[in-house]
C-alpha cells in the first residue's frame, strides 16, 4: 500500500514530477557517461592490445612501441630467442616506415612490414592477404594489404598495381629502391589512426626496399604468453628484460597504465563531473521531497493521528524519493548511452589515436556502478525529508491546518 500511495503522490503533480524526473535523468545520464569514461579508456585499450592475443610488446630500449623512429638491430636473433622459449606461444615482428607511392594522389604512406602468419596488426575486410616476396622473375607480383583510407585518398582499388619506393633523393627525384606490388586486400588496422593511409606488406619485402641497413631490423615485436595469466605474462616479461638488454618489454597492464597517465585528464574530469551530477540529482530529489512534505503536513499529521507509526511515514516519504530516482535512472540510462555515443565521436577525432580505440565504453559493470551511485544518492536525498515528515508534531500540525 505504501508503494501505491507513494506513486499516487507523485502523480498528483505531474508537471513538477516530470520536470524532476527529467532533471534526474540528465544528471543520471551525465553520471553514467562519466563512469563509462573513467573505465572506458583502459577497457578499450586493453581489448585493443589483446585483440590478437599478444600480451607483450618488445620495443627498442627505453621507448614505447612506435613512440620514436628507433629500431632494433639483430632482430632475427631476438625473434629466434623468443620463439625458442617454451612459455612463448607466438612472436610477431614488425617494421614500420614510410614509403613513397609513385604516380599517386598521396605521395607516401605509413608502411608496416609483417609476417603474415603471425601478424596481429590488422584484420582482412576485403580481398586477400599479403604474400611473400618471391625472388623469381616469373613469380607473380607481391600482394599488399591497405587501409580503406589509403584506397580512398590514393584513388586506388583492390587489384590495382602500384609502385612503392624508398630512399627518395629529393634533388634527383629518384628512388633508391622500388617494387611493383598488387593491392590484394583491404584491412582494418587496429593500432593505426583511422585517418592515416597504411600499407601492410611482407616483412622481407620491406627490409629489401629499405636497404641493407634494415636487413635485420624491426621496430617492434609482439609476444604471446602460452599460459596467458598475468603471472606467466609477467614471468615472460622479466625473462625478456634479463636476456635481451637491448629491448624493453612491456605488458598490457603497463601499457594501459602509461596510456592512462597520458589521458589522466579525462579520468579526473570524469570524476569531477560525475560528482557534480550526483550532487545535482541529490539536490533535486531532496528539494522535491522536502517541498512535497511541507505541502502535506496536515495530511501526514492525520496519518499519524489515525495510527500510522513514524517508521510508516518515513517509509512512505522515502519511497517517494526512491521512485523519483528510479524513474530518472531509467530515462538517464537511455539518454546516457546516446550522449556517450556523441561524446565518443568527438573524442575519437583525436589525431594519432588508433581507430579501434574508444573513450566511452559500455559495460554492465559501468551500468551497475552508476546505478548503485544514483540509488545511494537518491536514498540519502529522501532520508532527511522523510525523517522530518515522521517527526511532525501531530497536534501542532493539526492546529496550524485548522488555522490555515
Amino acid at each position: 500500500m505504501r508503494l501505491m500511495m507513494a506513486w499516487a503522490t507523485l502523480r498528483r503533480h505531474p508537471a513538477r514530477t516530470t520536470l524532476a524526473v527529467l532533471g534526474i535523468a540528465v544528471a543520471a545520464a551525465l553520471l553514467l557517461d562519466m563512469v563509462m569514461l573513467a573505465t572506458g579508456m583502459s577497457e578499450s585499450f586493453r581489448s585493443l592490445l589483446l585483440t590478437r592475443g599478444y600480451q607483450l610488446r618488445v620495443s627498442p630500449k627505453g621507448t614505447l612501441p612506435f613512440d620514436s623512429e628507433a629500431t632494433i638491430d639483430g632482430a632475427g636473433a631476438i625473434v629466434r630467442a623468443l620463439r625458442a622459449n617454451p612459455d612463448i606461444k607466438a612472436v610477431s615482428p614488425t617494421l614500420g616506415s614510410t614509403l613513397t607511392i609513385d604516380r599517386s594522389r598521396i605521395p607516401s604512406a605509413f608502411t608496416l612490414g609483417l609476417e603474415r602468419d603471425v601478424q596481429g596488426d590488422y584484420t582482412i575486410e576485403a580481398g586477400s592477404d599479403i604474400t611473400h616476396a618471391d625472388s623469381g622473375t616469373t613469380a607473380p607480383l607481391p600482394r599488399i594489404v591497405v587501409s580503406q583510407t589509403f584506397l580512398t585518398r590514393a584513388g586506388h582499388a583492390i587489384g590495382d598495381t602500384i609502385t612503392i619506393s624508398s630512399g627518395l633523393d629529393a634533388q634527383l627525384r629518384t628512388s633508391a629502391r622500388s617494387s611493383r606490388v598488387v593491392i590484394g586486400g583491404m584491412g582494418r588496422f587496429i593500432y593505426v589512426p583511422g585517418e592515416t593511409p597504411v600499407i601492410a606488406l611482407d616483412l622481407a619485402l620491406l627490409r629489401q626496399l629499405l636497404g641493407p641497413s634494415y636487413r635485420d631490423r624491426m621496430s617492434l615485436a609482439m609476444a604471446e604468453s602460452r599460459r596467458g595469466d598475468s603471472a606467466s605474462v609477467e614471468a615472460v616479461r622479466a625473462w625478456i628484460a634479463t636476456t635481451q638488454p637491448r629491448v624493453t618489454a612491456i605488458s598490457t597492464e603497463t601499457a594501459i597504465r602509461q596510456v592512462e597517465e597520458r589521458l589522466s585528464y579525462f579520468r579526473q574530469l570524469a570524476f569531477v563531473l560525475g560528482a557534480i551530477s550526483l550532487g545535482i540529482g541529490f539536490l533535486l530529489v531532496a528539494t522535491l521531497v522536502t517541498l512535497s512534505v511541507n505541502e502535506r503536513r496536515g495530511e501526514i499529521a492525520v496519518l499519524r493521528a489515525i495510527g500510522t507509526q513514524r517508521i510508516g511515514v518515513l517509509q512512505q516519504v522515502f519511497l517517494e524519493g526512491l521512485l523519483l530516482t528510479s524513474a530518472g535512472i531509467v530515462g538517464g540510462l537511455a539518454l546516457g548511452l546516446v550522449t556517450a555515443q556523441w561524446l565518443n565521436g568527438i573524442l575519437r577525432d583525436f589525431p594519432g589515436l588508433p581507430s579501434a580505440f574508444d573513450f566511452f565504453v559500455w559495460s554492465p559493470a559501468a551500468g551497475w556502478r552508476a546505478l548503485a551511485l544514483l540509488l545511494t544518492s537518491g536514498t540519502l536525498a529522501g532520508l532527511l525529508p522523510a525523517w522530518r515528515a515522521a517527526s511532525i508534531p501531530i497536534a501542532r500540525a493539526l492546529r496550524e491546518e485548522a488555522i490555515g
Partner: protein, 243 residues
Amino acid sequence: MAEDLGLAVGARVRISSKPGEPGDSAFIAAIYERKADPAEVARREYRVRLHLDQLQQLMELDDRVDRFAVGTRDGQSIDSALARINHVAFGFRAHKSRDVAVQSSRTFRVVERFHFAIGIITVVASAVFLLCLLLLSVEERKRDIAALRLMGISRATVVRAIVIEAAIVSLIGSVIGAGIGWIASLIVNAHFQELYRTPLVFALLTPQIFAFATGLSLVLGIGSGAAAGWRLVKSSPLALMGR
C-alpha cells in the same frame, strides 16, 4: 627534466644517439620552461636543445634536417615566398606556419569540442534543475497567491511580481555561481598546471562567459516564473486555497 634528474645550470652530462654508446659530453647552459601549448600537454617526454651541427654529428646525419623555419623580410608577401620555394625546391614543400598550427592544434580543438559538448549537457541539466526549483517555489506559495487574488490584485500584477522575484533569484544565483566557478577555476588551474607542469590555463572565466551564464539564468528564471505564475493564476483563488 631538470627537476626529475636533478640537473642544474652548469651540470655536465653525456648525450648519445643510442643507449650504451659513449656519445658526447655537454654542459647545461640553461633550463627553459615549456610553452603553453595544448598539444604538448600530457606529453611527458624530456626535451633537450643543442646546436644543429652537434646534433647532426651525434646522429651521424651529415647535412640532414627535419624542416626549415623561414622568416620573410618586412613587406614581403608570404604567399609569393611560398610559391617561389615550392617552385625551385625538389622533394620538399613549404607551408605557412599558420596552416601548420591549424593541423597541430587539432588535439586542442578536439578537447575544445569535447568541453563544449559537456558544457551543453551541464547547461541543460542546470536549466531543468532551475525550472523545477522555481516551479516548486512558486507552487509552494499558492495560498499566498490565492489571498492576493481574493483581495482584488489582478492576475497580471501577481504574475509580474512572481517574475520579478524569479529574475532577482536567478541574478543573485548567477553571481554566486560565478563566484564559485571562479574559485573552482583557480583550483583546476593550480591542479593541472602542477600535474602537467605547464603554464597553460585550463579554465578561464571571462566576462563573456559570465554574461552568457547570467543571461541564460535570467531567461530561464523569468520564463519559468512566468509559466508557473500563469499556471497558478489561471485557477480560481478558492481552488488554490483548497476549497
